[in-house]
Symmetry: C2
Subunit: 566 residues, 2 copies
C-alpha cells in the first residue's frame, strides 16, 4: 500500500493569505494556516518610512513582500502541524485576487523594493479594488466602441477600472518615468509563481478575464493600444508577454530559494497561477458545462462552463481555458451581496434587534434571519433593487443605486432584511436568465464561499426565487482547495497526482449532503415578485428612467460645491 | 378702564382634551388644562363590563362621556388657576377631530349610554381614524362615479373611509337595528355643542368637509343615497339635518347643566363647533386668500382660502364657509409626515445614534437632525416618495407606498432621515403647485402644530424646497386658541368680544418673529431634486407603473394564504 501524497494550495486574499494542506487521494484538508498581511490594504498612506506620502481616495495598494511572508509563515506551519514529510508534498498551487498587478524590473524585482521608486505609490501593487483608474477605463471603453473593437462584446461591452490595462494606463499617465523603468507589468498571481519557480509564466485565467486576451485572438492590437497613447502601443511586447499558459499546467519546479522559504523540496511541482473565484469551480465539483458555481460572499461571482463561445448580455467575461482547460468559462457577478446585508446591519437596524441578539448570544444577522424566516414570500409588500454598489452584470453600470419600494408605517427591519436578500436573489435570477437566453445552460447550481455557510434562509430564498436546487461545496475554503488540486495536477499522475483537473475534482472535491430544494408554493409567489423586479430593473437600468443617474449628477455637483452650507 | 374679558377654547383631540383660557383683548393664553380620556382610543375591546367584546382591526372608537369629563375637569381648573371670574368669561368655542361621529337618540343621548346597545361596538363614537368602513367608501365612490355625481370633484374625486357617510353606511350594513334605533347620526363636535347649549346645531365645517354638504347644493340627493341602499335614502332627513350653521355663529347660550359642569355662567355664548385643523387658520393670523396654513404634526393639513370655487386635483375638499365665513376653504393633506420620521427613528436607526443622543441628553430626532443639517442638499444622492401611509392629496390613493432610491454602501441614517424630510417637503410642494395651477394663490405660508416647534432643519428644508418664506404661529396650541377666538366672536362685540373672526384674529393671533427665508442656493438644488421627485411621483402615482399596486396585491394574497410557511 503506497503512502499518502499531499498538495498545498495557497489563497492570496485581500487582507491575508491562507494555505491548506490536502490529501491528494480524497481532498481531505489536514491543516490550514493564515497569515494576516503586515501592511494589509494600503489605502491611506505608504508604509513607513514613506508614510507621509498620502494616497488619494479610491486607491488600494499592497506590499508584495506580504505575499512572500505568507509563503514563509504558512507553509512551514502546515508541515510542522501535520508532520507531513516535504517529500510527500507533490505539488503547490496558488490563487489570487485579480486584477492585482505590479510593475517590476525585467528580473521580476518589484519596483517598490527599489529605493529610487519606493516613495512612489505607482511602484506598489495595485489591488483589485484600486478604483482610481476610472478615467483610463472610460478612455479604453470609448476608444474600443469607436473603433468597433471585436473583443468588447466578450466583456459585456465594458472594461472595468479594476482591470489590467486600466491600471497600466494609469501608471503610464501619472508616473511615466516609472512606467518606462518597469521591465514587466504583471499580475501578482503570476509574480508569486515567478518567485516560486524562478521564471515568468502568465496564466490564461487572469490574461483572459482581466487583460483582454483570448486564446484565438490574443491581445488587442498594437494599433488600438497606440491609439490610447503612442507610448502604450507596444505595452504587450515591452512589458508583458504573448506567451500565455493555460491553467492546469505546471509552471515549473520549486526553486532553491522558494524551497528554503517554505520547507518544501526543490523541484516540487508548481501550478500556473489562478484566480480565487475561478479556482473554486472544480473545488465545488464542477468541471463540465451545465452547472453554475456561485462564489457567494461580500459579492457574488457566477461561473458557468460552456463548450462553445456565446455572447451573454453584460457578462464580466468569457475565456477559453479560463476555468477548465478546453472549455469556455463564462463569468458574471453581483457587485454587492453580503456587503448589502452588512450595510443594513450596521446602518439600519434599531437597538431592539441588537439587544435580542445579545440576549440570545447570537449575531444580529442571525437574529434578523430568525425573524425574517417567519415571513411568507410577498408578505412584507417590499421589493428592492440590489444596486447598492451598482450593477456588475447584465447592466454593467456602476452609477445605478439601491432602491426599495413598498414601505409603510408598519414596515419592520426584518422585512427589509428579507427584501434585501430577495433582491440579491432576483439579481442572480436575472443573470441565470441572461445565460440561458444566450444558449448557456444553467441546469444545476452549486454555491460556495462564506454566505452559504452562515445563512440558510438566504440559500432557501435563492432556491425558491431561481427555481433550482442549490447544493453547497463541502469545503469551507474552496479557493485554497482548488489551488491544491491544481498543484496535484501540476505534479501529474506519475508523481501521485492527477493528469487533469477533472480527474482531480472527481477525487478531491465534494458537496455537502444538504440540499436546498425548491418550494413550489414559494416559487409561485416569487415568480410574481420577480416579474415586478424585472420591470423596475428594466425601467431604471435600461435608460427609460434616468432618475438614478440624475441623482448621481446632482450629488457630484453638491459635493463639488465649495461654499459651506447654511 | 374696563376690566379684561376672557374666552375659553376646548380642543378635543385623539387621546385627550385641552382647554385654554385666553384674554380676548390680545389673545394672551393665561392657563391650559388637559384631560386624558379615561377610555382613550377604544381599539381592542369595549370598556368594562363589555370588555369581552373584541374589536376587529382598523376599528377606533371613543366614549362620549370622556368629552363631558373633559369639560368637567378642565374648565373649572382654568378658573381656579387664574382666578378669573366666571362672569368675565364671555364665550366658549370647541374644536374636534373629524369626522368623529356617533349615533344618538332623538334627544341626543348616545346609544352607547343605553344598556340595550352598550355592548354593540357600533353604538359608540367612531373616531376619525376608524378605518373599517373602506368597503362602504368604495361603494360610495363607485356609485358616485357611475352616476357622475356633481359633488365628487369637490373632494378630489374620492370620498374617504374616514368620512361621515362611509361610517353611517357601515352602521346601517352591520348593525341595521341600531341604525334604525338612532334618532340622530351626528358629529361629536356638534354633539358636544348640543350638550353645552341644550339644542342641536350642525356646523358648516364638518358638514362641508366630511359630509358632502355644500352651501349652494346641500347634500347629495336622496336618489343617490337610495341607490347606495334603499334604507339609506332618507338618511339626511331621518338622522341628520339640512339646517347647517356657518362657523363663526353663536350656537346658543350655556345651559344650566353645562354651567354646572364647567363653573361658567348659564347663558355664556357658545360658538358653533369647528374642526381642529380648520380652526387653527385664524389662530395662525390667516383670514384672507393668498396664504396657506400648514398644520404640521404626524400628518399635515394644508388650508388655503379663496374667494371663488376652483377644482384642484386631488384635494381633500373645498367648502364655502368651511374655514372663514364668506370664503372658500380649500383643504389638502399629507397622510404621514411626523409619522414617517417617528417610524424611521423607531425602526431604522442603529444604536450609535441612540447612544449619541443619550450622551448629549437629547432626543434621537434631534441627534439625527444635527447630523442631517451638516449635509448639503443633494449630497446624499437619495430621493424618497413620502407615501408610507399612501397619498392623501393630488393622487388620493391609499395603496401607494414609500420608496427610497439612491442608496449605496456608504449611505448613513442621517442621510435617509434628511431624504425623508425632503420627500415630505416635495409632497407639500406638489400640493402648492396643484393649488397654484388651479388658480388658488399660495403667496405666503404659515405653519403651526407640533413639528415646526421642534425641527428647525425641517422648516428650513420646507422653505428651500417650496421657495417661500415660512412663518410660524406664535401659539403652541392654535386649535384651542382658535376655538377661544370663535368663542369671543359668538359673544360679539357688545359683550366685549368681536363681531367677526377676522377682527378676532387681528387682535388675538400672532406670528413668531423668526422667519425661515429661502436660500437661493439650496432652492436651486432642490429644484433639480424636485424635478426627479415629480417624475417618480407621476410614474408610480399616475398609473403608468403599477408596481406598488401589484406589491399590495401580492401581499394580500400572501397574508390570506392559510398554510404555515416553511
Amino acid at each position: 500500500m503506497s503512502e499518502s501524497r499531499f498538495a498545498i494550495g495557497v489563497d492570496f486574499g485581500t487582507e491575508s493569505g491562507r494555505s491548506v494542506l490536502v490529501n491528494v487521494a480524497d481532498g481531505r484538508e489536514l491543516a490550514t494556516a493564515v497569515y494576516r498581511y503586515r501592511n494589509g490594504v494600503i489605502d491611506e498612506h505608504l508604509p513607513a518610512p514613506h508614510d507621509r506620502i498620502r494616497l488619494e481616495s479610491d486607491w488600494a495598494l499592497q506590499d508584495p513582500e506580504d505575499y512572500i511572508r505568507t509563503l514563509q509563515e504558512t507553509v512551514p506551519r502546515l508541515l510542522a502541524e501535520t508532520g507531513v514529510e516535504p517529500s510527500h508534498v507533490i505539488g503547490v498551487g496558488i490563487d489570487f485576487t485579480a486584477c492585482t498587478m505590479l510593475p517590476t524590473t525585467a528580473d521580476g524585482t518589484p519596483l517598490c523594493y527599489l529605493d529610487e521608486f519606493r516613495h512612489l505609490p505607482h511602484a506598489w501593487v495595485k489591488l483589485w479594488k484600486h478604483h482610481s483608474a476610472q478615467p483610463e477605463a472610460d478612455l479604453i471603453n470609448a476608444l474600443a466602441r469607436d473603433r468597433g473593437e471585436p473583443w468588447l462584446p466578450r466583456y459585456g461591452g465594458k472594461i472595468s477600472s479594476e482591470w489590467f490595462f486600466s491600471k497600466a494606463l494609469q501608471i503610464l499617465g501619472e508616473a511615466p518615468e516609472l512606467y518606462a523603468a518597469a521591465g514587466r507589468l504583471i499580475e501578482a498571481a503570476d509574480w508569486v509563481v515567478w518567485q516560486l519557480t524562478g521564471h515568468e509564466t502568465r496564466n490564461s485565467c487572469t490574461a483572459g478575464y482581466k487583460a483582454i486576451w483570448s486564446k484565438r485572438d490574443g491581445f488587442p492590437s498594437d494599433a488600438y493600444f497606440g491609439a490610447l497613447d503612442p507610448r502604450f502601443r507596444h505595452v504587450v511586447d515591452q512589458k508583458m508577454s504573448r506567451h500565455i499558459t493555460s491553467i492546469g499546467h505546471r509552471a515549473g519546479g520549486l526553486s532553491q530559494k522558494a524551497a528554503a522559504w517554505t520547507g518544501l523540496r526543490p523541484g516540487t511541482a508548481v501550478a500556473v497561477a489562478n484566480v480565487d473565484a475561478h479556482v473554486s469551480v472544480p473545488a465545488a465539483t464542477v468541471t463540465e458545462p451545465g452547472t453554475m458555481v456561485m462564489i457567494m460572499g461580500t459579492s457574488i461571482c457566477h461561473i458557468v462552463l460552456g463548450d462553445r463561445p456565446a455572447t451573454v448580455e453584460g457578462m464580466c467575461g468569457v475565456v477559453e481555458d479560463g476555468v477548465i482547460p478546453g472549455l469556455f468559462g463564462f463569468e458574471a457577478g453581483q457587485s454587492a451581496v453580503g456587503d448589502i446585508f452588512a450595510w443594513f446591519v450596521e446602518n439600519m437596524v434599531p437597538p431592539e434587534y441588537h439587544e435580542m441578539a445579545r440576549r440570545q448570544g447570537i449575531d444580529v444577522h442571525v437574529a434578523l434571519e430568525q425573524q425574517a424566516s417567519r415571513l411568507r414570500p410577498g408578505e412584507s409588500g417590499l421589493l428592492a433593487l440590489d444596486w447598492w454598489n451598482g450593477n456588475r452584470s447584465v447592466l454593467v453600470d456602476v452609477d445605478l443605486s439601491g432602491l426599495i419600494v413598498g414601505a409603510t408605517l408598519a414596515t419592520k427591519a426584518p422585512e427589509i432584511y428579507r427584501a434585501l436578500i430577495e433582491a440579491t436573489a432576483f439579481g442572480t435570477r436575472m443573470i441565470v436568465d441572461a445565460f440561458e437566453s444566450s444558449g448557456v445552460a444553467v441546469g444545476r447550481i452549486v454555491a460556495c464561499g462564506g454566505l452559504p455557510e452562515r445563512n440558510k434562509l438566504l440559500m432557501q430564498i435563492y432556491a425558491d426565487v431561481i427555481g433550482r436546487e442549490f447544493r453547497i461545496a463541502a469545503s469551507e475554503q474552496t479557493p485554497a482547495l482548488g489551488s491544491a488540486m491544481f498543484g496535484a495536477v501540476a505534479a501529474g499522475k506519475a508523481a501521485g497526482g492527477y493528469d487533469s483537473i477533472t480527474e482531480a475534482s472527481q477525487h478531491m472535491a465534494r458537496l455537502r449532503d444538504e440540499k436546498y430544494e425548491v418550494s413550489d408554493e414559494n416559487h409561485a409567489v416569487y415568480e410574481q415578485l420577480y416579474g415586478q423586479y424585472v420591470r423596475l430593473h428594466d425601467l431604471f437600468g435600461r435608460g427609460s428612467n434616468d432618475v438614478m443617474k440624475n441623482l448621481r449628477k446632482i450629488r457630484s455637483e453638491a459635493l463639488s460645491a465649495t461654499q459651506p452650507i447654511s
